[in-house]
């Protein structure tokens, strides 16, 4: 299993409508954890229309980019829930019993979890 490294970016909590219309830095991946909650690794700025938006620097997640083969070999055997069919997609749930998330693209995936779970996840995935 590849090492999990800190993912720094912006964490944004705003109304779902505001997040739908938000403008992000070019080329960033928006991980929409919830309708009102997004994490954008690598992002430096955001434009969002919500007077009470919460925007903070986020460094509480760690992750690793995986190829499709690595995903199949290292991660999928430890997942009990069905994968989303569309791409790109964000999937969230227990992986090897550890709360984690997967951002799935056509030919690669980002495995991430809270830094506090990094040791357990890496240890369980071998």
């Amino acid at each position: 299993m590849r090492a999990l490294e800190t993912l720094s970016g912006l964490r944004v909590v705003a109304s779902p409508e505001a997040l739908d219309g938000a403008r992000w830095s070019e080329g960033t991946i928006v991980l929409r954890f919830a309708p009102d909650d997004a994490f954008v690794p690598g992002a430096a700025e955001i434009q969002v229309t919500d007077d009470h938006v919460i925007v903070v620097r986020e460094s509480g997640f760690v992750g690793a980019w995986l190829t499709a083969d690595q995903l199949a070999e290292w991660v999928l055997p430890h997942i009990e829930w069905p994968m989303p069919e569309g791409r790109p997609a964000l999937a969230q749930g227990l992986i090897a019993g550890v709360p984690a998330k997967l951002w799935l693209d056509d030919d690669r995936a980002l495995l991430l979890c809270a830094a506090a779970y990094a040791y357990e996840l890496a240890d369980r995935l071998g």
């Binding site: 800190t6 720094s8 964490r11 909590v13 705003a14 109304s15 009102d36 909650d37 007077d51 009470h52 938006v53 919460i54 903070v56 620097r57 986020e58 460094s59 509480g60 997640f61 055997p77 997942i79 009990e80 069905p82 227990l94 090897a96 019993g97 550890v98 709360p99 809270a114 830094a115 506090a116 779970y117 990094a118 040791y119 357990e120 996840l121 369980r124």
Partner: protein
């Protein structure tokens, strides 16, 4: 001794032939795989279970014989020994076998590849559906169906969990066993077992058949109904009576009794899957006639329940099938009712006049090992703070608290205590719950949520707060810190943080208020800099004017952006530095380096628990109970009943005037602290218990928090056989001058 190979039975080798199961090989050797009872060779009963290669309760009829297999028969009475517990060193358990688990998905799973299963599978395939067929004879043994539906399968390669859209149970029917005196003897086989044994070339001796005789097996049919079986250990004769008049016993000498008494649906898997897309087909779905109600003999060989046991519990009022099951344990053993259920139903039907439905079936239908049951199951994941490795490097003894690994001590909790009381110390409080809330309705929300005032907290100030449920019971506590007019930070206990976040979100949704919530518990680390020299340390490293008590500021400390909160849980001047987790090690090391000449040292939870106890601070869940109200805790000062409303207010208003016999109090006594949980006695009666205790180094005696449950609350009590005084906490610095310094 001939045969294609040998297995070991109770320490001696016996041969087996090609295609033999262990049970057949044992019977070929003239033995019984257990100690008696009818053999079905179909996996339906528990009469052939034995220990196989160290695993107990294995159905030997379903276990192919192979060279060197070691069979140890279970004791005739009692359970087989638990090997892990029988060894001398129980702290060093034997190596276990890792059972892998595979998961797959299927549109249709058909359990059973017999006639009805094959037909069901073909029908599903004709409809264009993908079908997975499982059959124990192919090594794919379905042992459970859970919601989903998920079929749990034992395979030669480990466990298989199949998520299916539909499950078809085509497991056929099991043969009835006899219930009569003598039904535990050796020499009883069902008709299908007799056919298998005959085909395998096993000599049955002089065989008689009761009921439907098996095809092709040399035996003498005996007419009439089975009355009893005679013999001393082994069958020597069978006694029948004429079906027409019930009189005139006829005794027939024999070596083997072949029993064709009827069948019962093998439906345990479908019965454990009610309300799921699981159906039964073929004999598994049939309603077979029940046998005659038994009058004597063993009904449930697995749990050794006889007809007299059924009558005994019936007379005591257990007159429903589920109650009879629980009172006698019939149906709870190895075969899960496959043998006894038809007979118990018949027995109850004769008494009640109604045929009861079969009792509930629950996973697993077959004996599986703990390793098989646990395959693919993970223990809870405990979180590590960003400082975990720093603690370990400093010699900390780490332990699990509130879902986290935390340092209990660094080798000398008393020295850690004095570092806080007299110098400066660091504590890792990263585990505290931390929510950021913002929105136009946030003040209204917090006023409704908390029992104390929120609107009057000025920006840059904070306030201690209780979190109550609708019953007015304490569920958590923490701080409210105002960052802006419509933006607050809320902190919670480490163990309560997860529930508190759900609690907050649930009330926002319930009230329909415009409040955003961001849980920063695992994004922000926190280091508590505490002790009379804490302010001096912070002045050195970027905070020339540290905030006053209950104030908070944002500042860079050693180059790390921190939210600095001036609080106190230890009773000394304390600054919590909340900062990004990826900068925590850097900050920790810088603080230790800059405080070296001040004698800085980290403290663990053991010291912290004593420090806070001297101040009388409660730990939710340790000093509180599920129904602890502010009044019982002596914390009514943290509740503003003049507020129009808050969660729990109605309950507090309703109960506030009622007498209450429970109170959390402070206790002191000379000497060392008694064990937490010690009973508190008054007039020789137990009137409460100690919830926290500590031998206070600074006070030189024991201090405690404890619950009293009897009024009038006494002034003196007895704990650990010693007199103790009931006092009002805090025990140390009651004016709070040190925390406010």
């Amino acid at each position: 001794m001939t045969g294609v190979g040998r297995i070991v039975l109770d320490g001696r080798p016996i041969p087996y032939e090609a295609g033999d199961s262990v049970a057949v090989a044992v019977m070929r050797a003239g033995e019984h795989p257990h100690h008696g009872g009818t053999i079905c060779l179909a996996g339906d009963c528990g009469n052939c279970v034995a220990e196989v290669d160290g695993v107990a309760y294995v159905r030997t009829c379903q276990t192919p014989a192979r060279p060197g297999l070691v069979i140890q028969r279970h004791p005739a009475v009692g359970a087989p020994p638990l090997r892990a517990a029988a060894q001398i060193d129980v702290t060093n358990p034997p190596p276990t076998r890792h059972i892998p688990v595979q998961r797959s998905e299927a549109e249709v799973v058909v359990i059973g590849a017999g006639e009805s299963g094959t037909a069901a599978a073909a029908g599903a395939r004709r409809m264009g559906r993908s079908v997975t067929v499982l059959d124990a004879r192919d090594g794919m043994e379905a042992v459970a169906i859970y919601a989903g539906p998920t079929v749990i399968v034992r395979t030669p390669d480990g466990m298989l969990h199949i998520h299916a859209e539909e499950v078809v149970v085509a497991t056929g029917a099991a043969e009835l066993h006899p219930v009569c005196p003598g039904n535990s003897l050796v020499g009883l086989v069902t008709a299908r077992a007799a056919e298998q044994l005959h085909t395998a070339g096993v000599d049955l001796g002089v065989a008689v058949a009761i009921g439907s005789a098996p095809g092709g097996v040399p035996c003498t049919p005996v007419a009439g109904s089975l009355r009893r079986i005679e013999g001393d250990g082994r069958v020597s004769a069978v006694v029948t009576v004429d079906d027409d008049d019930g009189d005139g016993e006829r005794t027939t000498a024999c070596d083997t009794v072949i029993l064709g008494l009827g069948r019962a649906a093998r439906d345990v898997l479908s019965r454990m899957a009610e309300d799921l897309p699981v159906s039964a087909v073929g004999p598994a779905a049939e309603s077979f006639p029940l046998p005659a109600a038994p009058t004597a003999g063993t009904v449930c060989p697995c749990s050794r329940v006889n007809v007299e046991d059924l009558a005994s519990v019936w007379e005591r009022g257990f007159q429903e099938l589920e109650l009879v099951k629980r009172a006698t344990l019939a149906g709870t053993g190895t075969c899960q009712g496959s043998v006894c259920l038809p007979h118990v139903r018949a027995w109850i039907a004769e008494r009640s006049g109604e045929i009861p439905e079969p009792f509930t079936a629950r996973p697993a239908s077959r004996q599986i090992t703990l390793a098989e049951a646990a395959a693919g199951v993970h223990v809870d994941a405990f979180r590590r703070t960003a400082l975990h490795d720093e603690h370990v490097a400093l010699g900390a003894r780490m332990d699990r608290f509130g879902g986290w690994w935390r340092p209990w001590h660094y080798g000398d909790h008393v020295a850690e205590y004095w570092a806080v009381r007299e110098g400066v110390s660091l504590g890792d409080v990263s585990t505290l719950g931390k929510l950021l809330v913002s929105g136009p309705d946030v003040v209204e929300f917090l006023e409704r949520l908390y029992p104390m005032g929120v609107a009057d907290i000025r920006v840059g100030r904070s306030r201690y707060a209780l979190l109550l449920d609708e019953g007015g019971h304490l569920i958590d506590d923490g701080m409210i810190l105002r960052e802006a007019e419509t933006r607050f930070v809320l902190t919670f206990t480490s163990a309560g943080a997860g529930h508190a976040e759900m609690w907050v979100r649930d009330w926002i949704d319930t009230w329909g208020l415009r409040v955003h919530v961001l849980d920063r518990t695992m994004s922000l680390a926190a280091i508590n800099v505490t002790g009379p020299l804490a302010g001096r340390l912070l002045e050195r490293i970027g905070l020339p004017s540290p905030p006053h008590f209950l104030q908070h500021v944002h500042a860079d400390i050693c180059g790390v952006p921190c939210h600095v909160m001036r609080l106190s849980f230890t009773g000394e001047m304390s600054f919590e530095l909340h900062h990004p987790v990826d900068r925590s090690v850097e900050l920790w090391r810088a603080l230790l380096a800059h405080g070296r000449d001040l004698g800085i040292a980290p403290h663990g939870l053991q010291a912290l628990q004593g420090l806070r106890l001297e101040k009388g601070h409660v730990i939710v869940g340790m000093d509180t109970e599920l129904d602890s109200t502010p009044r019982r805790l002596g914390m009514e000062w943290a509740v503003r009943m003049d507020k129009a409303d808050f969660v729990g207010r109605n309950a507090l208003a309703r109960t506030g005037g009622l007498p209450d016999q429970r109170r959390l109090v402070g206790l002191t006594m000379p000497g060392s602290a008694p064990t937490e949980g010690s009973p508190i006695r008054s007039d020789r009666e137990i009137v409460g218990q100690v919830s926290s205790s500590f031998t206070s180094p600074v006070l030189g005696h024991a201090v405690m928090l404890g619950w009293l449950r009897r009024t009038p609350f006494p002034d003196t009590v007895e704990v650990d056989g010693r007199p103790a005084s009931v006092v009002k906490p805090p025990f140390y610095d009651p004016e709070g001058s040190r925390a406010r310094a």
